[in-house]
């Protein structure tokens, strides 16, 4: 029952805030998220095999609805609730009239509604026991992301929202195709049913599910909706990037690997190759982004690709690859939230997020600057942060696969990682250090609540990877 409560609580919170105004809405949203985090922590099966479940309800033969939380789902559920809480708390002050970039509080209830419903949708994905239910929540996330991206209602925002909707919806068509195939041939939507598909159908099923995952996870060439989606309010962007939406795509791929056997063989190779290409596409975008958020968007694309490389290597039979991919999902969530919220703080107080107009922010907003530096170092894979471990795992997995293929993958990962560190530190240097520019001199560390959120995230970025490791090790079949 706790699972059901966990699923419905954010939705209820969202509906409540939709009717409330002002501080009450803030309180209701934050309260709902606090409760969701506590519930999630309570239901996560820490290292124990039996996953909590709510019995299936079966309206039609083959259709079963229920809730089941295994290790993989728990990982996503924790990411969504914890990141969701930090973002909700941050939004209470960010989405306000003293925001220099968007000085408005209009539409805040709508914003909370979509944000909290998004949490429910993601939790639904995490707790789905079969493909069909997963698909329903999958579509719900698409709608929520459309709502959040077009939040400000400008022409640009509406266009970007539509673009995200169209691209991910196009990808979802493949999901539907895959599901139809599955149902027609096996009469079931269970994860296990995928293994019963015959040869060619199985191939078609895998490819269709992968296309759906690629669209959602903004993989090339369906990646452009993500940089365009930067017109969303910054905390919403953070949520889309770090915890929700794009992670759903990764989750689908990971789910296919953990709960079915369909990714073995050539699909593993396909996943890895596509991911490597996307990694470099994402990297290529870094160098031309003047908007800090756009840079982060491309970094998300590259990092999602790295997760998929890990999953692909895992599908080739090297457990370290999957562990690396999942650990990367986990560490990236907190790190990217931190980075986005720091950029949010910069645009909140300085009103500008253009790299060329900002220098010397350390002078005026030391906490935010420290957060950005921590984020930049963490995302680049320097210890003691989690990405160091996930990159080490993925690199070793690539070399363990061996052969020309494994070596190519390993070298490509190393080169990408080095170039990305170079660029992130370059940007950090331009923006944070040196003499203070005119735009930066207007900046100041944000409101206390936002500072507290940034501090918490800095701590989480450092500590969380070590907390998540047992869970991840358990998912991949290691002794927990």
């Amino acid at each position: 029952m706790l699972l059901l409560l966990l699923l419905l609580l954010p939705l209820a919170g969202g509906l409540a805030t939709a009717m409330l105004r002002g501080r009450l809405a803030d309180l209701a949203a934050t309260g709902a998220m606090v409760a969701a985090v506590l519930l999630a922590l309570a239901v996560v099966p820490w290292g124990g095999q039996p996953a909590a479940a709510v019995g299936p309800w079966s309206p039609l033969p083959g259709f079963a609805f229920g809730l089941r939380l295994d290790g993989l789902g728990a990982l996503l559920a924790l990411v969504v609730t914890v990141v969701g809480l930090t973002i909700t708390a941050y939004s209470t002050r960010y989405y306000d009239v003293d925001n220099r970039e968007h000085p408005t509080a209009a539409g805040k209830s709508r914003y909370y509604f979509f944000l909290l419903t998004f949490v429910t949708a993601m939790l639904g994905i995490a707790m789905s026991p079969n493909f069909f239910q997963l698909f329903l929540f999958w579509e719900l996330t698409t709608i929520c992301s459309w709502g959040l991206i077009s939040q400000y209602g400008t022409r640009e925002a509406l266009k970007s929202g539509l673009k995200a909707l169209a691209v991910t919806q196009f990808a979802s068509l493949f999901f539907i195709g895959g599901l139809l195939l599955l149902y027609v041939q096996t009469g079931s939507f269970d994860f296990g049913a995928a293994d019963r598909l015959s040869g060619a159908a199985r191939a078609a099923f895998v490819v269709m599910l992968l296309v759906a995952a690629w669209g959602k996870a903004a993989q090339a060439p369906m990646h452009t909706w993500l940089p365009s989606a930067m017109v969303a309010p910054t905390p919403a962007s953070a949520f889309l990037h770090a915890a929700a939406m794009v992670k759903a795509g990764i989750f689908l791929a990971a789910r296919c690997l953990v709960s079915t056997g369909v990714l073995g063989g050539w699909p593993a190779l396909l996943v890895t190759v596509a991911a490597l290409i996307t990694m470099y596409v994402g990297l290529g975008g870094y160098f031309f982004a003047d908007d800090l958020k756009r840079l982060l968007a491309y970094s998300t694309i590259a990092n999602l690709a790295l997760m998929l490389v890990g999953i692909g290597l895992g599908a080739m039979g090297v457990a370290a690859g999957l562990e690396g991919g999942l650990l990367h999902l986990w560490s990236h969530a907190f790190t990217k939230t931190l980075l986005f919220l720091c950029v949010g703080a910069i645009s909140w107080s300085a009103g500008v997020r253009s790299i060329s107009r900002l220098t010397g922010l350390w002078q005026t907003m030391p906490l935010t600057a420290a957060g950005f530096l921590v984020g930049a170092l963490a995302i680049s894979g320097l210890p003691p942060f989690g990405v160091f471990w996930s990159k080490l795992l993925i690199l070793r997995a690539a070399l363990a696969v061996g052969g020309a293929w494994g070596w190519t993958t390993g070298l490509l990962i190393l080169v990408e990682s080095a170039l990305s560190l170079a660029w992130f530190l370059h940007v950090a240097r331009l923006v944070l250090f040196g003499s203070t520019s005119e735009a930066a001199s207007r900046g100041a560390d944000p409101a206390p609540v936002m500072q507290a959120v940034l501090g918490t995230l800095m701590l989480l970025t450092t500590v969380a990877p070590y907390v998540g490791m047992p869970l991840i090790h358990w998912i991949t079949g290691g002794v927990g």
Partner: protein, 674 residues
């Protein structure tokens, strides 16, 4: 308390110290002392640990802290004689730098002091861990922490754009090169089944037998990572920038010790992991020796041309690391061919590591003292400071003579070992003799560079910068720091035996120890006893020098005319002091003009991404945009059919029905059987 607890305790003290400095609500001076105190405490423990290991057996510590991941590593530390020597170095030299920093940072805001000491202590912890690690993951973790801490220290004065840039280039270079270590370590762990040094060493030996090409590539990959940290040519370009940007105590530790971590890695790789005495060893050894010689020439000649005091000292670091890498290369190349000479070269390598840590730290600290007093690093603006800072002048001269290899100071001993190994090594590998001659010549260049620095700063008339300086003694902590390092330079010169014995015992720990002549060689033999004499006897040399000096003084007193100080006559013109002075910029001009090519600014990494990349990355332009426009066109076409004529709709419906029938008939049951 047992000795095995020491490694954890030392690192713990440093990290707790870093945390305390960061959070304790204290005033400036007290904060500095908290930071320095933690460092000094760890130094005492390090001395204890190092002493225990050098007089006893290696210590191995293994904590069951392995992370729950599919990574076969364990938290293993091992302190053998080689580590112990580096640990003792890490105890003494940073202690001096911390003391110096207490005085140097006086008057800085508390926030700057916090940043300095926190990062400094973390850097020390990282270096201690690097030296103690017995597992590649632990090593890499510590290695990157060390780089990160030093990055923050280089950027200590972040308001200056060029400092931030120097720090960026520095971290970038060492991180990119460090990827080589990551790659090599991962590959060896896959082969050997774990990240432990023992397993990976076996794996490398096996790989040399089965897949030699790959094994060499991996040695290269690891070597690049270490060589970049050691700032050996061609990965030296970051050093003058970074060490020039950092505050003096930081430059001192970066040049004095952190660069040596790269050397430590090279020693571990080439002496402790590579199979000793193979043909491949000769190639690698000669390669190292060549790179070392190039660094030596480049660094010292560049330092001769510098007018910025800190950059002058930093450039010379490249040169001195050249000596170290040259001797390491000789030790590797001569292994098994001339075991004793190999041992001599190794002793020279390790000895020069120790010496350089002492005199280079001291020289950087004296530069810091001068800047502290005068506010400038430009030696063209200095001069005549000997009257205001006599102690610093004396110690600078001591350091300058030591680094140039003047007996009886420490620099001579190590350089002498290197020259001998090179010249006699020439009997086996003729190239080494050439390198030996170059090394001897270049040592005079470094003397010239430091005499220029000394002369321009302390002698002659006062420059603009010197006039600003107040006379008086240095703050006591700064003087104590300089004194400690100066004493080290003298003692290491007068009593070389213990160091050589330590180096030999370190070499005994290597798997192929026999190839390095450690079984038969004694410290006396290494010191020159082999050649039939008693070897180098510093005390005798000192006595001879004292006697000569005494004679010179006597002769001078007998024959010297009475000295009369007066202003020079300039044909009646009155000129300012700066113009009539033979300044540092005028020295060695013909020589420098000859080597102008070596003095050009070093290449610095720069990003220029071609613009077509943007077009490729932006899929909107070439894929999604056209698709969307095509879709849009198609819908417009369909809309045009929508004219409200009933006949038209009927036709469409008929067509659709036909299509559905065709589909159903064509694929009847087909989907299920597929």
């Amino acid at each position: 308390m047992t000795v095995t607890m020491l490694p954890g305790l030392i690192v713990g003290i440093l990290l707790v110290g870093a945390l305390l400095v960061a959070v304790l609500p204290l005033r400036n001076r007290s904060l500095s002392w908290v930071g320095a105190g933690a460092g000094l405490l760890s130094s005492l423990l390090l001395l204890w640990l190092g002493g225990q290991v050098l007089t006893g057996d290696p210590i191995s510590v293994r904590w069951n802290l392995a992370l729950p991941l599919d990574l076969p590593f364990s938290f293993a530390l091992e302190v053998d004689s080689l580590s112990a020597i580096f640990l003792i170095l890490l105890a003494i030299v940073p202690a001096a730098e911390l003391l110096f920093a207490v005085g140097y940072l006086d008057g800085q805001p508390a926030e700057a002091i916090r940043r300095f000491f926190s990062a400094f202590l973390v850097l020390l912890a990282g270096m201690d861990m690097v030296v103690m690690a017995a597992d590649w993951v632990v090593f890499l973790f510590a290695w990157e922490i060390m780089s990160l801490a030093s990055y923050l220290l280089v950027m200590w004065e972040w308001r200056q754009e060029q400092n931030a840039r120097a720090a960026w280039i520095y971290l970038l270079t060492t991180h990119i090169a460090g990827s080589g270590i990551l790659l090599g370590a991962c590959w060896l762990s896959v082969l050997g089944g774990s990240f432990g040094f023992a397993d990976t060493t076996q794996a490398l030996t096996a790989a040399f037998a089965t897949t030699p090409v790959l094994a060499h590539l991996m040695v290269f990959s690891l070597g690049v990572g270490f060589a970049a940290k050691a700032a050996s040519f061609p990965l030296h370009f970051w050093l003058p920038e970074a060490h020039g940007a950092a505050p003096a105590p930081v430059s001192a530790i970066l040049s004095g010790l952190m660069v040596k971590m790269g050397v430590y890695g090279l020693i571990r790789l080439f002496i402790f992991m590579m199979p000793a005495g193979s043909d491949a060893g000769v190639v690698w050894g000669l390669l190292l020796a060549t790179l070392g010689t190039v660094s030596m020439v480049l660094g010292n000649i560049r330092s001769l041309g510098e007018q910025h005091a800190k950059r002058l000292v930093a450039q010379s670091s490249i040169g001195q690391v050249g000596y170290i890498v040259l001797s390491l290369g000789m030790a590797v190349a001569l292994a098994d061919r001339a075991p004793l000479l190999s041992a001599v070269a190794f002793a020279g390598c390790l000895y020069h590591v120790i010496n350089h840590a002492f005199f280079k730290s001291m020289l950087f600290l004296t530069v810091g003292s001068i800047q502290h007093r005068t506010g400038t690093y430009d030696i063209r603006l200095l001069g005549g400071l000997i009257r205001k800072m006599p102690a610093v002048a004396g110690l600078t001269l001591l350091g300058a003579l030591a680094i140039a290899g003047t007996p009886p100071l420490n620099g001579f001993v190590s350089k002498w070992l290197i020259y001998r190994a090179a010249v006699f090594g020439g009997l086996h590998l003729p190239l080494l003799a050439v390198y030996g001659v170059i090394a001897i010549f270049i040592s005079t260049v470094s003397l010239a560079a430091y005499l220029k620095y000394f002369g321009a700063t302390f002698l002659g008339v006062e420059g603009e910068g010197s006039r600003k300086a107040e006379a008086g003694p240095e703050p006591r902590p700064m003087l104590a720091a300089l004194g400690l390092l100066g004493t080290g330079c003298i003692l290491l010169g007068l009593w070389p035996q213990p160091v050589v014995a330590g180096a030999l015992s370190a070499l005994k720990g290597a798997p192929g120890a026999a190839a390095y002549g450690t079984m038969q060689a004694t410290a006396t033999e290494v010191m020159g006893g082999l050649l039939g004499s008693a070897g180098y006897m510093p005390v005798a040399v000192l006595l001879a020098l004292v006697v000569c000096a005494g004679l010179t003084w006597v002769v001078w007193q007998m024959g010297a005319p009475s000295t009369r100080f007066t202003t020079p006559w300039l044909g009646g013109e009155v000129l300012p002091d700066e113009e009539i002075r033979y300044g540092s910029a005028h020295l060695y001009r013909p020589f420098l003009a000859r080597y102008a090519a070596l003095l050009a600014p070093l290449w610095q990494p720069r990003f220029r991404v071609p613009h077509w990349v943007e077009a490729v990355v932006d899929a909107d332009r070439w894929l999604l945009g056209p698709v969307y426009r095509g879709y849009d066109g198609l819908t417009r076409l369909l809309v045009r059919q929508h004219r409200g004529r009933v006949k038209g709709y009927v036709v469409w419906q008929l067509l659709a029905v036909v299509l559905v029938i065709v589909l159903l008939v064509g694929t009847e049951g087909g989907l299920l059987r597929w």
